[in-house]
Symmetry: C2
Subunit: 386 residues, 2 copies
């Protein structure tokens, strides 16, 4: 049987693991060859992965584990390579937003048994390519059978305790910043959804096709970028390291990656800061619900948001609210971070970033709209299971 | 709505994570209260888990990640508590069989959105109870939505490089040993299957009910123990530490946990040893298929297997081959390990174990049956995706 028709059930779990090990040496995707730095240690095929590490003194071990499920996290248009790539990105992003250096990546994958071996190989190449791009060796994992593709990745790293980028620790007056624009991935997902709808329902969808056409007429490059951003997200690991290195002495930096929408992350960082406040003030009940004298909040300004006019126009053409895309949909993997004001000038020399607001002395999240009115921002990001 | 009727969709992903954090403080299951030592570090709710570690010099970081999927790994009779418990056991077992000390556990869980909140709580209590039992703090994780329950756990630990228990490194004449009897979990799964069949098909199953009755008449305690072992496996972490501590100086110990059946593990340790042999002899192609001058094998003796007569009789009554249960079904989580002969007496003072055979100078796996004939053992353990 030709390899291209062979299914994963033909070689079984151990054969697949052997295949991953072989693939981790050389991968070829879309005709492009690349050699992988990914290395299994002496523990190939043993019960656990062994990693040589030389943890610096005063370091935390940093670990992050995220599960991606085909029906929730992978649009139908996403390639196997992109699925594999994304499974590394989501975990590396979590490590990077703590300022951590990478140590290793563990891959747990479950696939339907009638998956083509070629597709499995593409997925693994996506994983390995991402491991290469983010300098994180693939050190272990497991394969299983399931009705749909499930990838559970775990990234392990380390970070200097004094420089770690927590979500909490900002003070009134600190600047609220982004590493880049938001909403592009959201726009990409909307376009993908619309195209999928068109594909599945050929009739009475003229309207939808017209909308898509208008969007492409406004700025086809931006539309293509949106699709690309939705299908192949990237982690801001360089930005994480720059922020971490500056998080020393008088400087004060907090950071998180935006996965569930900016508004949702605003409430996340406030909850985290409040929890820490309660903890430091002896309130043992770790909860975000209890009353306390906590009084920090966030104010952002519509005029300061990094949004291109074309993005607003395309959103409009598609019948979408650009601010909704910007605030309430995730998957961009940009960082939301805060800095003390004194750091702004210095940081501008090292990083492209956008100041969009500040920490205020009122426990609320609000936006000053272009027309001068102030609105409260609710936390409705994307939450699973609701 | 009463908590007992509430579904997980009612509180959403972040609510569930909050719930896990709260549950990690106190759990009550079946009326039994226990306090958990499980501790989230300062990073509760942050992007990654931060763990304070003081890695000893000359240590490996050890990591293991295993995914359990309801339809493959959890029999219908398994309680939510037991599912959670097992997800920790499988990973701790992998760490223990390297001789590692535990550092932390990451829990990725996906559940159907109509799961009752009470069931979710039970599952989390199972996880936390196991984390307590094996002294491994729950340090992080993620919740998601899926059509069935999927638990992907990652255990992180450390081990002294000089004492790590690899699968490879045994020599001709070394003793092949087990930490305990095998086949009990397999018997339990068979009983569960039979009971399930009876439940689903009320007619024409008199025969099956007769078989089960005979089994219970032979030894009802053993039948109950088999069910318990299938539903609530345990990891041999104490045994792993004893073996590791002895793996020094002149001593030579290799070990693995038996998850896919003893026969399958025999081939695993030979493959691992062969791979290492090729590696040390400059064969860069890491493969178990290529020819080589490798010539080690395993011989075991039926008469030395730790099997009770009642186990044989019950197997017989159920129409099963006891040796098949012993050799070809996994999930017992006992250790298969090898020691140099000189170590036997010393080890007997510290550990209950069974010598079942030896390493021979012939690349085969064979069993000397009670009647004196020698048979080759094939590798047919349980493999997913075949």
């Amino acid at each position: 049987m030709k390899s291209s028709q062979m299914k994963v059930s033909g070689i079984g779990e151990k054969g697949l693991i052997e295949r991953i090990i072989e693939r981790s040496k050389t991968c070829s995707v879309n005709g492009e060859d690349f050699n992988s730095d990914s290395s299994f240690a002496t523990s190939i095929g043993d019960d656990s992965a062994l990693t040589n590490i030389d943890l610096k003194e005063n370091s935390y071990l940093v670990s992050s584990s995220d599960m991606l499920i085909q029906s929730s996290h992978f649009p139908p248009e996403m390639s196997y390579f992109q699925m594999g790539y994304k499974s590394v990105v989501v975990n590396v992003s979590d490590l990077a937003s703590m300022g951590a250096d990478n140590i290793g990546f563990l891959l747990n994958i479950a696939i339907p048994k009638d998956t083509l071996l070629d597709d499995f190989d593409d997925l693994i190449c996506g994983v390995i390519r991402a491991c290469d791009d983010y300098h994180i060796p693939l050190i272990g994992g497991d394969t299983n059978e399931a009705n749909e593709i499930i990838i559970s990745g775990t990234a392990i790293g380390e970070v200097d305790k004094d420089k770690v980028l927590m979500k909490y620790g900002f003070k009134e007056g600190d600047l609220v910043c982004l590493t880049g624009g938001l909403g592009l991935a959201a726009l990409g997902f909307e376009l993908l959804n619309m195209k999928q709808l068109l594909k599945n329902n050929l009739f009475e969808m003229v309207d939808l096709q017209d909308k898509i056409n208008s969007a492409y007429e406004i700025d086809s490059t931006l539309c293509d970028m949106a699709l690309f951003k939705a299908l192949k997200p990237e982690a801001k690991h360089v930005e994480g390291h720059i922020l971490r290195d500056l998080n020393t002495g008088e400087n004060r930096i907090t950071a998180t990656d935006i996965t569930d929408g900016l508004a949702s992350e605003f409430y996340e960082i406030l909850n985290s800061d409040k929890r820490q406040y309660q903890f430091e003030n002896g309130d043992k009940k770790i909860s975000t619900h209890s009353d306390s004298s906590y009084s920090k909040g966030i104010r952002i300004y519509e005029d300061k948001l990094p949004v291109e006019d074309e993005f607003k126009e395309i959103s409009n053409a598609l019948g979408l609210d650009y601010l909704d895309l910007f605030l309430h949909v995730g998957e961009d993997f940009e960082f939301l971070f805060t800095i003390n004001r004194e750091l702004e000038d210095q940081l501008e020399n090292e990083l492209d970033f956008y100041v969009i607001g500040e920490i205020i002395e009122k426990n609320t999240v609000e936006i000053v709209l272009s027309n001068g009115t102030i609105e409260k921002i609710s936390s409705k990001g994307y939450q699973h299971l609701k």
